[in-house]
Symmetry: C2
Subunit: 189 residues, 2 copies
């Protein structure tokens, strides 16, 4: 049985933990303050501005593990772009800080409500996963599918740039009440 460590305790942390627990994973929740990381997969379920502090606390324990970045680094001062460089991504920044981890981008395009309900409109909720380690991607996808959702390989970690653009666009549309926080972009296979 796979143990997944989720750092964070917000809506996304709980929704992701719920999916993975439903699929049979052992899920532990860790606070920002620190503690032993027992999972082989670690989900950074904190807002992007808190990632640096989390890596300072936990970074040494993340070597050799699969680390899942779920962030949308939206510039909430302007709500008109991201806080990462245009030719990069939050995931690329995190991967650079964790050279010994297998970093994946996932869950940033699925609102918490769609993870909890398992549906986006009339379609099963689909988690898009980008990463350079094929085994890590396949393992996470299998755990998500065991939890009743769809998972789709979105390509290499460099595709995180497009996933973060999609996540940002989806948030702006929901904030403007043009899509629902219980909906957004559904994936039609």
């Amino acid at each position: 049985m796979t143990t997944v460590s989720i750092i964070g305790n917000g809506n996304m942390a709980k929704a992701i933990g719920g999916v993975l627990a439903a699929g049979g994973s052992t899920v532990e929740y860790l606070g920002r303050a620190g503690g032993a990381v027992n999972g082989s997969i670690v989900v950074l379920a904190v807002p992007y501005p808190e990632v640096d502090a989390v890596l300072a606390t936990y970074g040494a324990q993340l070597a050799g593990k699969t680390v899942v970045d779920i962030t949308n680094p939206v510039d909430f001062a302007t709500f008109d772009g991201l806080t990462v460089p245009a030719d990069s991504s939050a995931a690329a920044t995190i991967a650079a800080a964790l050279p010994e981890a297998r970093v994946l981008k996932a869950f940033n395009t699925t609102f918490a409500a769609t993870l909890a309900s398992g549906v986006n409109g009339s379609h099963p909720t689909t988690v898009l996963i980008a990463g350079d380690d094929e085994d890590a991607k396949a393992e996470l996808a299998a755990l998500i599918r065991a939890g009743g959702l769809n998972a789709v390989d979105a390509g290499p970690l460099s595709r995180a740039r497009e996933l973060e653009a999609l996540g940002f666009l989806q948030i702006t549309l929901a904030a403007a009440e043009r899509v629902s926080w219980t909906g957004g972009f559904a994936v039609v296979a």
Copy 2:
């Protein structure tokens, strides 16, 4: 009655023309070689590498008109990014070339089949429209809705960057057979 001029004759040109004609617009198709542009709305339904030539042919006639950019400037040599700068977009490039036109980004996130069928999976097809001219956006949205599809205001023309990221991601997923060319990203309101 609104006249729409569509430059191009491919699948997207025909699908967009079909939607607008169904909604009651008068639709004329123009070739790359030139001719009189009768529409108050002009859709550039050509691949991005052909846009420069189209603007050289038609640019002088586009002043004062609404010009709709539908392109996805995918780098087909690498299939790993776009040919426009990371902090810009095809739409921004076209708007810079046409300072007297009202440039909109639209139809780049909807596969031709979803325009023709009116549905994306179980949901009505939704056209996302970005632009800085609110009247032009509202007029195009009304014509699309009259044709039986949904239309959503995606924000200022600078959001074209995210729409092009979404379009690119959707194309890579369809090319990898992870979403369908009759599906893709559906918008759940």
